[in-house]
Amino acid sequence: MDLTYTPEQDAFRKEARAWLEANVPAAPLPSFDIAEGFEAHRAWEKKLHAGGYAMVPWPVEYGGRGSDLLEWLVFEEEYYRAGAPGRVNQNGIFLLGPTIMEVGTPEQKARFLPKMASSEEVWAQGWSEPNAGSDMAAIQSTAIRDGDHYVINGQKTWASRGAYAHWLFGLFRTDPDSTRHKGLSFILSPLDLPGITVRPIQKINGKAAFAEVFFDDVRVPAENLLGEEGAGWNVAMATAGFERGLMLRSPARFQSTAARLVDLYHATVERGDPVAPGMRDRVARCWMDAEAYTLNTYQTVTRLLSGGKIGAEASLNKIFWSELDIEIHEAALELLGPRAELDPRSPAAGDAGSWLDGYIFALSGPIYAGTNQIQRNIIAERLLGLPRK
């Protein structure tokens, strides 16, 4: 055990901090859930890419920096320290990118990864369907082979970034007679093909975070199959492992949110606003839990660097960060008192800031990437050995 950074890691941190301080936009960008914000965030991604920071843990040949996961953690720490924009390209960086690197053909790597790295192409997720939410194996959308194309029919929903993205990845049933986990394939589809209709879905704050995507005899070239035909479930599980396990929520995100909560606590006390007596311990606890998440991630990275894998432990992770995110935001809203419900642009909003938006976002945490109920089943069955039925 050695919890100090190497001189190389310290140097990289310094370099990243300097670059970010020089380049992070002074004013927050508009939300990437509106068209203008989407483009602004894409421009930021391109700037990151030009600076060599877009895909820190990716190999250099695909547009990355070739860093190991520890350097990635260092970068994330600096990224959040700098208050840099959210990653509109997250689906590419952390989910599809690693999946293509693992199972893609050399041609697919060459075709997709560099444009993903440069955010020339931004990706949407296409997992869920109206009748396949927690039960993803209930997917009904079909992709039937016809010569050198797949013909896709069906409907995907909750496609995050779907309203403005260029491409979508997801599971489709290539064997129409199959059921459940079998006969599914992982297919990459442009979103501008004839027969595709994208309908944005607003989340509860009215912003279009997702889309429904309808496929009506859409012809996708067969080379867009990722992995073997019929092996889609396993490919998707690898992707979901990345999502739940490590890269979707870097620890610095929660460290920075917890640190902002400490700031808010001090500001509230200084202003003389009422604060519940227990809030002091509650704020400290949020900070402690963000620390736990960080430490645990460093453990996981250490394990991965020495050849370990993320297994069902990813489910522990998903539950912990999603509940932590809600805890932190609920504490902040209590500190804000009557201002908690105000739009930040309200004249009396003061330092209410984005806590409410953050809370609304946090509320989706226990639902997406597999509900926390599903994660608890996985923990009980796979880590504790309880019977499935």
Binding site: F32, R81, G83, G86, V283, W287, Y298, S306, L386
Partner: protein, 361 residues
């Protein structure tokens, strides 16, 4: 940067686990509850052969020369079997003697500790009761200003009865004399603080083991016990209760391992790190006790079943070396009053950073 254990460390843990699984059964632990001292010199000899009491003692003094990152793995095993021999007391005593400016006391005592011939203990004002004072050959305690090293004959002990049959607690009184004084003022307080942290760390690590064992007992029972024609472990209510404990255990473990490193290296944030470890681990173990009891149902509520052996350990470990109120206060003092977040692991928080209002996701 490497947050993990070496193969050697994990191998030693496995060795100790295997040894304890064979020797330190629940029946044996409960048998100890009935004895006068609750402690077994024979078993202490066996532990000494494994090197446990002298783990922190340098090799030149006959010990293993290891540090707290080794120790916590073994303390987890101690907690897993619910053992309460004075290993924590001794580890705390060794740590303190090692840190004294004058090496003579360490030279006199540590070889004896490593050989299994002496037991140490340290009193700390955060805990009015001293565990294992009755078997300590040397006890270090404060008179309010100075620390004194006191042989057993110099102590007046008043036994307290703990609900946990494994825990033997005493109120300690003594007459401070010049010849027993070993440190004063600032040095005494620093030594005392380090002793508390080492004791709290050992307690936290034991709580991890107790937690793990309580989960294992419940999972095992739930896989066997049938009601309504199926194993009760197939009910989501049972699964989810246990999964929640498992989550807590996972993150408590991270805190404990980091705190071990902080104690071993006397890191800047040591005390806060230890408090986080103590809070998280004991909370996990306490919850595990409640959940394990609930999963077992009425059978778990009986004296003859073993759930309460670990549940009571969780209760007494929670109170040892600073209770939750003490450690939460220390955490809050660190995080809120001294604005520790600026020193958060890896991440450093600028003053009032502008926050992105957009692009959550």
């Amino acid at each position: 940067m490497e947050f993990g254990f070496s193969e050697d460390q994990l191998l030693l843990q496995q060795t100790v686990r295997d040894f304890l699984a064979g020797e330190c059964t629940p029946e044996w632990v409960r048998g100890q509850w009935q004895t006068e001292t609750g402690r077994s010199p024979e078993f202490w000899s066996q532990l000494s052969e494994l090197g446990l009491p002298g783990l922190l003692v340098s090799e030149t003094q006959g010990g293993l020369g290891m540090d707290e990152t080794d120790l916590v793995l073994l303390m987890e095993e101690i907690g897993r079997v619910g053992l309460a021999e004075p290993l924590t007391a001794t580890a705390v005593g060794v740590g303190l003697l090692r840190s004294l400016g004058d090496a003579s006391l360490a030279d006199a005592w540590l070889p004896k500790v490593a050989a299994g011939d002496a037991i140490l203990a340290v009193a700390h004002p955060a805990s009015p009761f001293v565990a294992d004072a009755h078997v300590a050959d040397l006890l270090i305690a404060s008179d309010g200003d100075s620390l004194h090293a006191l042989p057993r004959a110099a102590l007046r002990l008043e036994a307290q009865t703990s609900n946990d049959g494994s825990q033997r607690l005493f109120r300690v009184d003594f007459d401070a004399r010049d010849e027993t004084r070993i440190a004063t003022g600032r040095e005494a307080r620093a030594l005392e603080a380090a002793a508390l942290d080492r004791g709290a760390l050992c307690s936290a690590a034991q709580a991890l083991g107790a937690c793990d064992q309580l989960i294992a007992l419940a999972a095992d029972y739930a896989g066997q016990r049938e009601q309504f024609g199926v194993a009760i472990g197939s009910f989501q209510a049972v699964k989810h209760m246990l999964a929640d404990v498992r989550v807590k255990l996972e993150y408590a473990r991270s805190h404990v391992y980091r705190a071990a490193n902080s104690v071993a290296n006397d890191a800047t944030g040591r005390s806060v790190d230890v408090s986080m470890a103590k809070i998280a681990a004991c909370e996990a173990a306490l919850l595990a006790g409640r959940v394990s009891l609930q999963v077992h149902g009425a059978i778990g509520y009986t004296y003859e079943q073993d759930v309460h052996v670990w549940m009571k350990r969780a209760w007494s470990l929670d109170l040892a070396f600073g209770d939750a109120v003490f450690h939460r206060a220390r955490l809050a003092a660190g995080v809120i009053d001294r604005s520790l977040p600026a020193e958060s692991f890896g991440y450093s928080h600028p003053q009032r950073v502008p926050t992105p209002t957009a692009g959550l996701g």
